[in-house]
């Protein structure tokens, strides 16, 4: 065991050294007084943030847009995820199950930002592209979680309804759904929380929200405006953190 540890440490050190060597980073130049003072100048140019009422209103709109992108994207994903989770949980036989699982895996394995870059082609610049991007990726994540929830749900209630003559769809709606809905809602809210953060940065590829404003203002060298947006992002994330902690404490337990 000791030998394994030593080997891993040596390997890691070698990997770190190789990485720095491969990238040929010129840290002497990067950490030089000149570069340092230039970076300091750049950092100072972010202060003070632009707090004119006009720009604050614009930032507020961007924040609302970010929240809307994440909410609608997550809602869309929850609906689509449930639709895909039904075959993925093996309700319609093995072939639909494999196809649905493959689809979910595919949707999930492409990161949100790549989806956003693709959706900008399909739906044009703006928040709709961001909404779709979040929706595709989240469908992959949520669909799999939903499928697992459905697989783990106790089959007895639905079976009882079936054997007393109810149709399969109704047996599912009244036998299985009531038991799993809290779990589905919990998963969706959890993903929404993640998606708010994501929606704030998707705009870097043109998909609306605060990210797009930040990208534009940095490109136009409007650092005070950029600082306002960064502060808005931080406030948004802090707010979401606090809200989800509060909700977890008061609702779940």
């Amino acid at each position: 065991m000791r030998r394994a540890h030593a080997l891993v440490v040596i390997l890691l050190l070698a990997a770190a050294w190789a990485s720095f060597a491969y990238l040929a980073l010129d840290f002497g130049q990067l950490l030089s007084v000149e570069a340092g003072s230039q970076m300091l100048k750049y950092a100072v140019s972010f202060f003070p943030p632009d707090i004119s009422p006009d720009y604050l209103a614009q930032t507020w709109r961007g924040t609302l847009e970010t929240i809307a992108i994440s909410a609608i994207g997550t809602l869309f994903a929850a609906v689509l995820g449930l639709v895909l989770a039904l075959p993925a949980s093996g309700r319609f036989g093995i072939v639909p199950r494999v196809i649905a699982r493959l689809t979910l895996n595919f949707l999930r394995s492409i990161p949100e930002l790549v989806w956003a870059a693709l959706m900008v082609f399909a739906a044009g610049l703006g928040p709709f592209a961001g909404t779709l991007a979040l929706a595709w990726h989240t469908t992959g994540v949520i669909g799999r979680l939903f499928a697992e929830t459905l697989e783990n749900a106790p089959p007895e209630p639905a079976q009882a309804l079936r054997s007393s003559g109810s149709r399969p769809a109704l047996a599912f709606l009244y036998g299985t759904m009531p038991g799993v809905v809290p779990q589905l809602v919990a998963y969706s809210l959890y993903r929404w929380e993640i998606n708010i953060r994501m929606a704030a940065i998707l705009g870097f590829v043109g998909a609306g929200g605060l990210g797009q404003m930040l990208y534009v203002s940095l490109s136009l060298f409007q650092q005070p405006q950029a600082m306002t947006i960064i502060l808005a992002m931080l406030a948004l994330v802090a707010l979401v953190d606090a809200a989800s902690a509060w909700l977890r404490q008061h609702l779940v337990d």
Partner: protein, 269 residues
């Protein structure tokens, strides 16, 4: 047969939709736009070029180079993150505070010193890595350096917090005993705390490395080098075949990072 709960359920749905309505407006949600013939044509043409994936020797060599660059950015970034996180987490770990042991001078100054360090770590990690990357691209120029610095800063903040939590949550008695019998801070850490905490430290760091690989692909989109930069270029030029090759390589890379991380954690656990 009627659903006894139909009214409350319909009412809840209606209220939710009403609440979400402004959201639909703000998000410019418009599915019709997706099926607009002109958009469909552009997208269809682009998607049509996805097959077959580009596989010319030159392109594959280029992709290999940027894949290695991505891996190197992630590894170098995590190395910097560790260099930031270790000393800072030692500073904020309360169990390693000598002034806390007994009444004496330095109690308040010790506490006061921990606050700004804690705050720095929080500041580092609460700005997403891609925002750092965007800022560093403007500050040090396009290329891998921006990516390495961005990962170093963000992950430094995350690792610093988690390291100190690991130190605190393990058995702190050996370290405290050493401190109480007069040992120095670093010695108490090295002999009292490190042996307990090492497996968890390694396992969390390796997990973060895995995240860094994914993050460094994404950061390429804002110009921080690696695979993401290639993908962004290929997309701009509407070369679908190249995009699909890069996506495949990206998936392989994620699976690879995952496997390596599981292996390393198994060996060190």
């Amino acid at each position: 047969m009627r659903d006894p709960a139909v009214l409350p359920r319909l009412a809840l749905t209606a209220v939710l939709l009403l609440l979400l309505w402004p959201g639909f407006r703000l998000a410019e949600f418009d599915l019709v736009l997706l099926f607009d013939p002109r958009n469909l044509e552009i997208m269809g043409k682009f998607l049509g070029t996805f097959f077959p994936p580009a596989h010319s020797g030159d392109f594959l060599r280029l992709i290999l180079k940027s894949t290695l660059e991505t891996l190197a950015i992630a590894t170098a970034g995590v190395t910097i993150a560790m260099a930031i996180a270790l000393p800072l987490s030692l500073m904020v770990t309360r169990s390693l505070s000598i002034s806390r042991i007994g009444p004496g001078p330095g109690r308040w100054s010790g506490r006061a010193a921990r606050v700004p360090v804690r705050f720095t770590l929080m500041f580092f990690r609460s700005i997403p890595e891609i925002v750092w990357a965007l800022l560093f691209v403007r500050a040090v120029g396009l290329g891998p350096a921006a990516g390495v610095l961005a990962i170093g800063i963000t992950y430094g903040g995350m690792l610093g917090k988690v390291y100190s939590e690991i130190f605190e949550s393990g058995d702190t008695r050996p370290a405290v005993t050493l401190l109480e019998s007069g040992s120095g801070r670093l010695a108490a850490f090295a002999y009292g705390m490190m042996p307990v905490a090492l497996p968890e430290l390694v396992s969390y760091t390796v997990y973060r490395w895995e995240c860094a690989v994914r993050a460094s692909v994404i950061m390429g989109f804002v110009g921080a080098g690696g695979l993401g930069l290639q993908m962004e270029l290929s997309m701009r030029m509407l070369r679908g075949g190249e995009v699909s090759t890069i996506l495949l390589v990206f998936l392989l890379l994620v699976v690879l990072a995952d496997t390596v991380s599981v292996l390393l954690r198994k060996v060190t656990a």
